[in-house]
Structures are given as structure tokens and as C-alpha cells.
Amino acid sequence: MPASSDLAPARVRRTAGGAQRSPALGVLAALVAALTLLPVVLVVVRGGVDGWGPALDYLLRPRVGELLAHTGWLLVLTVPATIVIGVLAAWVVERTDLPLAGAWRTLMLAPLAVPAFVSSYAWISWQPQLVGLGGAVLVTTLAYFPFVFLPVASLLRALDGGDEEAARSLGLGPLQAAVRTVLPRLRPAVSGGALLVALHLLAEYGVLEMMRYQTFTTAILQQYAVGFSDTAGSLLASVLVGLCLVVLALEVAARGRRRVARVGPGAGRRAAALPLGRWRVPALAFLGGITALAVAVPVVMVLRWLLAGQSQRGVDVSNLGPVTLSTLGLALAGGLLAVVLALPGALLLARRHGPLAVLLERSTFLASALPGVVVALALIGVAVDVAPVIYQTALLLVLAYAILFIPRAMVSLRAGLAAAPPELSEAARALGARGASVLTRVVLPLAAPSVLGGFVLVALAITTELTATLLLAPTGVETLALAFWGAADELDYTAAAPYAATMIALSVPLTVVLRRQITKEG
């Protein structure tokens, strides 16, 4: 298809109007893609700077095997647990006659408002014996199952109920019908959600450090603490990148090629709600239990330490204002840069389907797998060796945020630009508008809600970013995550509480934005 559409005369004529600026757009998009993938190259090169021999000696140690096993166990236990909880919760919320389904939908997304490292702090301050693999699996499962719930719930809402009804009319029971007709079609949503969970687990630092469970990411930060940006840290980071690529490949394989869309004439119809009957109480207990563990425990514990701090010694909160402001400043700058950098690629992908666009799409996909620690380590190396001017500046930190979150901005922008089809731009050009003014007067206003949505998603992610911030925050810059971590790392629960509460409060809009994703597709 792409080849023939390039040859089609209508196509040629259609893109001809923008011919003089398209090459520039392509170059810009390619530059951004290169920027997002640069950290991988830098880290691998730096890791191999002493040659293959020492690199292999370092990597083929029992310790690296141990880290691999730790990382592997975490993934093997947490990913399936998030799938089971996410799918089951989505099915109960979207497909049954559950009372107050709307409220449950919100509650199942609410864990996203509690940064995982805040959740681990809450758990460990309540149940100090919860350390190691068990605690790590518990906290990460509760924090990350919404990544599965979200796409599965969206899809369940959008799926036509016709097939299920046909299966029922052919004699299958309600459960069998769902298993045979609905489950197979959930595959892309489940594997997409599971991919996100796996990537977050590979990049996770705060939870695991607090649970005293060592994986590649915690080992890389450890190595940074003893050796600054040495080859050992970069070698570990190279392995981590390798693991991320393996996870990506597994997801591509697991996603399958089955089509989800409904074909045939007539309007799609939502499936009838399945009566829960005697399952009503267990279903409510399940959702209630998940909510209690994933939301109530962190929130109650944070409030408890907040109150304890108030009554005990009147915890000094004078720092909270400035720290919140500097966090918001960074979030604003990083969100903006990510959106601006994502724009050329998103425009290109909305307009063209050539090999460059495909390459761009793939590279964004790869970049979305990069852990914060890898990006930070790469940027430190470059800044120290090549560009000391930006070393230890907020600029470097903002750049790291942008690189980390361009893929998120891209997803939103592409959805938005789909709302501004090329025909409208052509119409504007036919009426005499020039390139830049087409962009500002036609395309961007139409895409504005999505641009803002992307900006908000990125800014919120920055607000609670810990790992890259730990490595790159210049002297004198303190963020909420850093201030929280400084106190929590010394197990000073009361001093950490105000920052934890602020991060949770700032993350609430995330839940709201994401909830809309489910309902608007319904």
C-alpha cells in the first residue's frame, strides 16, 4: 500500500503544496529521533571503551547473574499478577451490572496518582518486614496494574457485543462465551499494558531500593555512587537496554496479528451487562480489596505521618513551597520541550507513510523503552567530556526529561493531528495561507486539546520522576521527588510526608485525564 500510494497521481498532487517544507520537517523529525536514541549509543560506547575483554570479564560475573535473576523474578511474578488483576477488574467494571461502575473505574485508575516509590514508603513504614522480592512484587503490582486495566477497559467498552451474543445463542454459557470470544481479542490491549508494566519494572529504582531488592537499575545507581560515570555503570546500563529490547520484542510477538475491529454493516452495540448474581459480593470485595491495598494504604499512611509530624515537632514545611515551585518549573519546561520536539515527528506521521515515517515510528517505540537511569548516565558522560557548559545546569535535566517523555507526547499529538486532516491544510493553502500560518492558524488550534493533553501527561510524569533527577539535578535544585527521597532514604517518615502528599495531590489530574480515555471511546 505505501508504495502504490506514493505513485498515485492524486497523492503526488496532494503533497506537492507542502513540498518545499516537507524535507525540513523530515530532517527535524529525524534529528529528534536521533536525539532520543542517542543515549543508547552513548552508553554502549562508554561501556566498551576499555575493550571487549574487560567488558566481558565484568559482565560474566556471578553478581551480574544474580542481578539478572533478581530482575527476572520481579518481572516473572509482577507482570502476570498485573495482567490477572487488570483484566479481571476491567471485565467486572465494564461488562457486568456492578453497582457504581463509574466510581470503581476511577478507583481502579487512582493508583496512578500515587508514585510507586511513595507507595513503597507507605507500605514499609507500616509493615517494615515487607522487604525483598515479596514486598517489591506487592508494591509494584498494586502500583502498575492500572497500565493493564486502562487499555483493557477501553477495549471492552468499545468491543461489539454481537459475537458474544452469537456464541451464547449457539449454546455457550456467559463465562464460556466471554472466554471464547472476548479474551482472544483482548490480546493486543493486554500485551500492550503488560509491556508498560515490564518497562516500568526494568526502570524502577525507588521501590526496589526501599525494599532492599537489587536489580540492574539499583546496581547502576550504586555504581554511580562509587564511581561517578565510569565504564562499569555504563556496562550495566548496556545490559539494561538489552533487557528492554528483549521485552519490546516479546511484546511484538505476543501482540499477534488478530484483528480487533468489527466488520460488516450496521452500528456496533455495547454488550449487555452480565448480571453478577451471587458473584456480586465477591466482585465488590475484590475491587474493594484492591482499592484498599493500592490507594487507601498509601494515602492513609501519608496522612498518618503528616499528622504525626504536625503533633510531634511541627515538621518544617517552609521548604515545601519553593520545592513545589521548582518542581513545577521543571515540569513546565520539560513538558513544553517534549511537546515541541515531538511535533515534527507527529506531523510527519500524520501526513506521510513512507519508509522515513515507519523508521520514525519504530525509533519512538524504542525510545519509549529507555529507563531514566540510562538517559541520565549517557547525558552526564557527554556533558562532562564534551559539553561542560551544560553540565550541572537545569537545561541538561530538562533535556533528559524531554528525551524520556517524547514518546508520551508523541502518542497524544498523533491523536490530535488526526483531528486536523491534510485536506484542511490544503484548503487553507488554496486560500493563500503560507506554511507557518497554516500550522498556527489551522493545524495547531484543531490539535490543541491533544497538544495540551500530551503536555499535561509529560509534566505530571516529570513531577514524580526520581531516577534521572537523582543523577542530573544541578546543585541547589531540589524537587519534590528529591526532597521526599532524601528523607525517606533515611527512613525519616514524618519529614517525607509533606512531599509525598504534594506529589499525590499533583498527580490526581493524571487519573482524570486517563479516565477520559476509557469513556470517550465508549
Binding site: R212, V226, A394, P445
Partner: protein, 342 residues
């Protein structure tokens, strides 16, 4: 109100925000102030800031502090090389200073400054000076273990009998300094064997405070740490140490190791005279009183300055005699890497 209008407004707001951001974040960047003495410090931030402020008050010389952690900051200065803006480097433990010293990046400390500190509180090389001291201790949970059951030497903890019953924070520079002392004192073979015992039998914690709190909570009966975290907690609400006591190994045991916090002047400093004055101030009676009154509970190193009365006198601890110049944290890190701890 048409939707386009509000969208335009939003867009305009979005496009205008870089201005707002740069206005807000102007003072956030760490841009070395050319008029200020650049202090790189991996000492506890509140101590360094107290020192810097007192120095500025006394001399009128402006200072700017950049904070980090020992080993990372030592290597950072080496990587920054001649371009490093640092004038002075202060550490929590001396091995990080030795990393910089071995890279040939330190200028000799004024002899008058070295004269201010006590015997054995500066390295034989004279390239840096001690500015504070801290002692290794064994913290133990009084509800779980009696004093008579405690190990006679830190070396005993490698025995199988202690497996799973002791905690430490080997990822931190504090602990690496202790092991560096052991390496000088007992040699490579014994140290490697001990580290293997640690790998097999110790509970690993993030830092000294986490170790102390774990002992306090009864997760392990004993733990290796530095003394001052315990005294600070005792001076406060005793939340993290109420069920514990400290055991000093003494007898010049590796577990009685006293670690020096170090101060040095960078050879590349363009303010070396002010930098030397800063070190002279830190080690003076006045500067050491700033340390004592900061509540950090670290030991002063200057002659004639008394430590906090809660602390046993430094000279009574019977610490092993080790030339701090001989402490090699890179070697320790390599050995810990070999042992699979790092």
C-alpha cells in the same frame, strides 16, 4: 466564547510559558559564581553550610557549596579535570580525597593549618587535612542480645554463627572506608575472606540510618555503623535507637576504625589563597566549635577543642593506627566487586 478562541488562548499561554519558566528558574541553575569560593562537599550538608556561613561571616569571602556523595564526587572532580570549578573539596570520609590526591589534583595544605590538627589527624603526605572524625561502632538491640554475647572483633562477623544476624551498608562510602582500614591493617587475604563472609551472611541496608533502625526494630541483633547517627537519634526522640546500645570494639580492632573527614585545596583553584584560608578556618578552634555546635555529633580534630559531652573521648577509643594516605577506596571497591557485593 467560541472554542477556537479559547484554544488560541491556551496555545498562547503554552507558547508564553518558556518565558515564565526561565523567569522562575533563573536562580535554580548551578552556575559557579566567579566571585565566590567554590566548595565541593560530600560532608553532611548542614555541617558544610554552617561552616561556609561562619567563614563568610568571619572573612567576608563569599562561598558557594555544591553537594554530593564521597566516591561519586571524588571521581567527578577527577573527570572534570582542569576544567573543574572546584576550589575546595570536603569529604565525609578521606578515601574520596585520596582519589583526587592520586590524580595529582591537590595542592599541599598550608603547614600552619596542619599544625592546628591533632597528631594522626592528617595524612603523611600533607596534601589534605582532617576536618572531623567519626568512629566505627557496633550497634546492638538490647532486647535480643546481651553484651557478653557480642563479638570480640569485627572480624568475627564473617563466622557462620553470625550469618543472617548482622547488618551493614556496604554500598556507602562510610563502610568502604572501614574496609579500606581493614585492608591496610589485615591485608588483602583476610579482607577478601571477610568480604565473602559479608556477602554470604550480612543483611544489606541502604545506609547507616537504615541499619540502625533495622537493629532497633529487631530485624537483626547487631549492625556496623558510625557512632554519630546513634548519638544524634539519642539527642532527638530516640525513635530509631531506643532499644539499642553501642559497643566499641577498641583494642585497635578493624571495627574500631576512626575515619577522617577530609579537606583539600584543588591545584587548579584560581582562589588558592582563599581556599587555604577556608581550610585554616575549618581547623581553627572557632571552626571546630562550629562543627561541635552544629549537632552533627562528629568529633573535632583540632587540638584543645572538646567534643560533645555525650561522646566518649576520641583518644579513649583505642582505634587502629592507619596512615590515611594508605586508604585505597578504589581497591576496596574492586574487591567488593569481586566479592559480588557491588
Amino acid at each position: 466564547m467560541t472554542p477556537t478562541l479559547s484554544r488560541r488562548t491556551l496555545l498562547a499561554a503554552l507558547l508564553a510559558s518558556p518565558v515564565v519558566v526561565s523567569a522562575c528558574s533563573r536562580d535554580e541553575k548551578y552556575v559557579p559564581d566567579p566571585e565566590a569560593l567554590q566548595i565541593y562537599s560530600s560532608q553532611h550538608q548542614n555541617v558544610t553550610e554552617a561552616w561556609a556561613k561562619a567563614f563568610t561571616d568571619a572573612t567576608g569571602i563569599r562561598t558557594q557549596v555544591r553537594s554530593g556523595t564521597d566516591s561519586s564526587m571524588g571521581h567527578m572532580i577527577v573527570q572534570e579535570g582542569n576544567a573543574s570549578p572546584a576550589d575546595v573539596f570536603l569529604t565525609e570520609n578521606s578515601p574520596a580525597m585520596t582519589v583526587v590526591e592520586r590524580a595529582g589534583m591537590l595542592a599541599p595544605v598550608d603547614p600552619a593549618t596542619l599544625d592546628q590538627v591533632g597528631e594522626g589527624r592528617a595524612p603523611s603526605s600533607g596534601m589534605w587535612t582532617g576536618i572531623a572524625a567519626r568512629s566505627t561502632v557496633l550497634v546492638y538491640n538490647t532486647g535480643q542480645i546481651t553484651e557478653a554475647e557480642l563479638p570480640a572483633s569485627m572480624m568475627d562477623l564473617q563466622d557462620a554463627a553470625w550469618a543472617g544476624r548482622w547488618g551493614c551498608a556496604p554500598g556507602g562510602a562510610d563502610f568502604q572506608a572501614i574496609v579500606a582500614g581493614m585492608l591496610v591493617d589485615r591485608g588483602e587475604q583476610e579482607t577478601a575472606a571477610w568480604l565473602k563472609g559479608l556477602k554470604d551472611g550480612a543483611e544489606i541496608y541502604q545506609n547507616n540510618i537504615a541499619t540502625m533502625k533495622a537493629v532497633n526494630a529487631g530485624e537483626v541483633p547487631v549492625g556496623i555503623m558510625y557512632h554519630y547517627y546513634w548519638y544524634r537519634d539519642q539527642a532527638g526522640n530516640k525513635e530509631g535507637s531506643g532499644s539499642t546500645k553501642l559497643h566499641y570494639f577498641g583494642h585497635q580492632d578493624p571495627g574500631a576504625f576512626v575515619s577522617l573527614s577530609a579537606g583539600g585545596v584543588l591545584a587548579t583553584s584560581d582562589r588558592s589563597e582563599e581556599a587555604q584560608r577556608f581550610l585554616a578556618y575549618l581547623t581553627s578552634g572557632e571552626g571546630q566549635e562550629v562543627l561541635v555546635s552544629s549537632g552533627s555529633m562528629e568529633y573535632p580534630v583540632a587540638e584543645g577543642v572538646a567534643a560533645d559531652p555525650a561522646l566518649p573521648p576520641l583518644d579513649s577509643l583505642d582505634a587502629p593506627v592507619v596512615d590515611p594516605s594508605a586508604l585505597d577506596s578504589d581497591e576496596v571497591i574492586a574487591m567488593m566487586t569481586d566479592a559480588g557485593i557491588l
